[in-house]
Amino acid sequence: MQQNLNEITFLFSELEKLERVRDISPDDIFSNSSIAFLSALSSELIKSPGTKQFSDVATFAFFCRKANLFALKKKYTEESIRLGRGVIFHVAPSNVPVNFGYSMVAGILSGNVNIVRVPSKSFEQVEIICNAIKKVASKPEFNEIEDRLFLIKYDRQSGATNFLSSLCDVRVIWGGDDTIAQIRKFAIPARAYDVTFADRYSFAAINADKLVKEQNIDKVAEHFYNDTYLFDQNACSAPHLVIWTGKMDNIKNAKDLFWNAIQLKIKEYELSPKITVDKLVSLYMQSQDNVDIIRELPTDNKLWRIKVSQLSADIDQYRCAGGYFLEYDATSLTELKTIVNRKYQTMAYYGYDKDDLINFVKEMRFNGIDRIVPIGKTTDFNLIWDGYDLINVLSRECMVL
């Protein structure tokens, strides 16, 4: 066992403390000390010069500010007793720099000791957050945090995953289907369980009748850009399919308006040459399906739009990163019935009434779709993610009758 541990690099805390994690008491959910620590981290990050450079770090700092944490706390009842489940082992995705931070925050707010495997690739954002944590933890009032938080890196081939799995009460696995399958080879204790974030599929729905009246189309385009291109259209919440509803001539006009604005916005997007080839492979593979498709004549390879003549059940197979969008003109959103399956995560929308959407979901009772959010909000972190309430799933309720 010892040799496994030597292969772990500690970005925060140390080996000696890691060996004692199972003896540490859990905290209440949203405990005062957790909120104090995270809000101190927020202040520290806002002060640190690196934060200005990275909007994702700034957003993270903003999420951790005291007012937000108290607002979140309100949603959880204070009548019951909820405590952390104990030790959470987080496996963060390797190519989203700040995701590990949100996973950690959910683990802290739910009252746990957290062991977080940060991305294997080196990101400046990870460094900035780790440095801020160290700085905050060096203050005497936060010296306990070193017993409760571990930020680590290790080679995937090492035995560390096996060891850390044997220690934990909940294992949180990000990074998609393959990573989940890899990590699941290692046993966890009998009462422990996995919270997994698998590969998901997301789409957008736009009400053309509303969009044609939009005064600020550039803003809508910017929001859509942030949902898609900002993460190379490869985040699980990034739309790959755009469903249009509305009057026929409005749909036509709305598409022109929308995509012209996107075309302007993506001037800043850097397209990898490899992705251009991937797009062509994706298109030709999709053409083999029995649904007629036609690619709209592209201005360049940054934006490809493929019009599909019908929604086939396997439409989620045909996707490509970096600006590859399927489009479908629907008579109504109820047509989604033919495609939505368990893989569906986020529906980004524009121009629909929230109450109508709530009724729609209740009526349709889909197997998928965990989030319905306005365009521009798909990547916003929320303690409800992928259909899990992270606070509840990472804590336990003690019942006293």
């Binding site: 990034a238 040459p273 990163a321």
Partner: protein, 366 residues
């Protein structure tokens, strides 16, 4: 089957004898016919072309013809003749676990591949067969049912050899004793050497260096291909490769010819001239495209390599987008005197480092 492309006429002229205007005219008309042929004969190809809205009658120049990514031959079985006409299936040399390309050849396409290869190589080696030293092991061609790219290359080039010797034994060890007697037997003759670039370096040059044996190959001509990826990781340049080989066996550096080619377009290879440039023959061409919009790059400008060839008729591989980066240096004016485009290959397109939640993108799209 009537001839879609008039290859017989082209086989009568010299392989580097068409200047820009004539070649462009010829390629445009012939490749357009091939596109129509495959559209008619391959349902899968037709679906692809319909998806991009191809209107073939509106296309006049071959640079505007659609191209398939070479990866399509890994994903799909693509052929434009009845399956019973297939006489040979070529596969790419994928490492284990990776999907391999499958290229289906009928008698006609296969025969033209051989004829064209002969024509191109003969312009470097001469028409006479030569004693041939194969810088590889005989074991790579043992399984003749499925042709690997390495095996196919060796077999393809073997027809230029009168007497042949594999320089490596089954264990990839240099067979010095047999090489000595082979060279003794053919003293004074031109020796044709063939091998894959990395094998030449790893198992021929390095082993010679180790053994201290310096064969006299001052009369030798070396043709090698297969790419520089492994040598780049050892920081061996083309110039160094040639110089070191000259040092160890006396071969004239201008008699060392790299070639660029792929199993998806066997036959129409691109040979390196004595000035270090790869040349397109009359049977094929290279187009370097800008990744941003697939427009044609200027001379000297880096981009993705497309290769077009007049040979693929039994499968829709006449216009292919590779995953290699390259640069066209010029056309018709290489100091070596060969007409047509000349170019350099830079290497594979870099794997995309993209963002996103799933860790698997890179492995999925290798």
């Amino acid at each position: 089957m009537n001839n879609v492309v008039n290859l017989e006429e082209l086989l009568l002229i010299e392989p580097y004898s068409l200047a820009k205007v004539k070649k462009e005219e010829m390629l445009s008309s012939e490749l357009k016919e091939l596109t129509k042929w495959h559209y008619k004969k391959s349902e899968k190809y037709k679906k692809m072309m319909d998806a991009i809205g191809l209107e073939i009658d509106n296309i006049s120049n071959y640079i505007d013809l659609p191209f398939l990514p070479v990866r399509m031959f890994k994903e799909l079985e693509l052929l434009s003749v009845p399956k019973e006409d297939i006489v040979k299936t070529m596969t790419s040399s994928g490492t284990s676990g990776q999907q391999v390309s499958k290229i289906f050849l009928d008698r006609e396409t296969s025969a033209y591949q051989t004829k064209v290869l002969t024509k191109i190589v003969a312009s470097f080696l001469g028409k006479k067969r030569l004693p041939m030293l194969i810088l590889d092991s005989a074991s790579v061609i043992k399984d003749r049912a499925m042709f690997s790219a390495r095996g196919a290359g060796i077999l393809g080039f073997s027809m230029f050899g009168s007497k042949r010797l594999y320089a490596l034994d089954e264990n990839m060890q240099l067979d010095i004793e047999n090489i000595k007697s082979f060279l003794e037997e053919h003293k004074g003759e031109t020796i044709f050497m063939f091998g894959f670039t990395f094998m030449v370096w790893q198992h021929f040059f390095k082993e010679l260096l180790k053994s201290g044996y310096k064969p006299d190959l001052s009369n030798g001509v070396l043709i090698h291909g297969g790419g520089w990826k492994k040598l780049q990781s050892e920081s061996v340049s083309s110039v160094e490769f040639k110089a070191k080989l000259h040092d160890i066996c006396g071969i004239n550096v201008s008699h060392i010819h790299d070639y660029y080619g792929m199993v998806e377009q066997t036959g129409t290879i691109y040979m390196e001239c004595e000035y270090g440039h790869l040349h397109a023959s009359v049977f094929s061409d290279i187009i370097v495209r800008r990744p941003i919009d697939f427009s044609v790059a200027d001379f000297g400008e880096k981009g993705i390599i497309e290769v077009v060839s007049l040979l693929p008729k039994s499968y829709p591989g006449h216009a292919l987008l590779t995953e290699d980066e390259g640069v066209v240096i010029g056309e018709d004016d290489c100091p070596c005197g060969r007409l047509g485009k000349y170019f350099n290959v830079i290497g594979r397109i870099k794997n995309a480092e993209i963002r996103g939640c799933s860790d698997t993108y890179a492995t999925k799209f290798k």
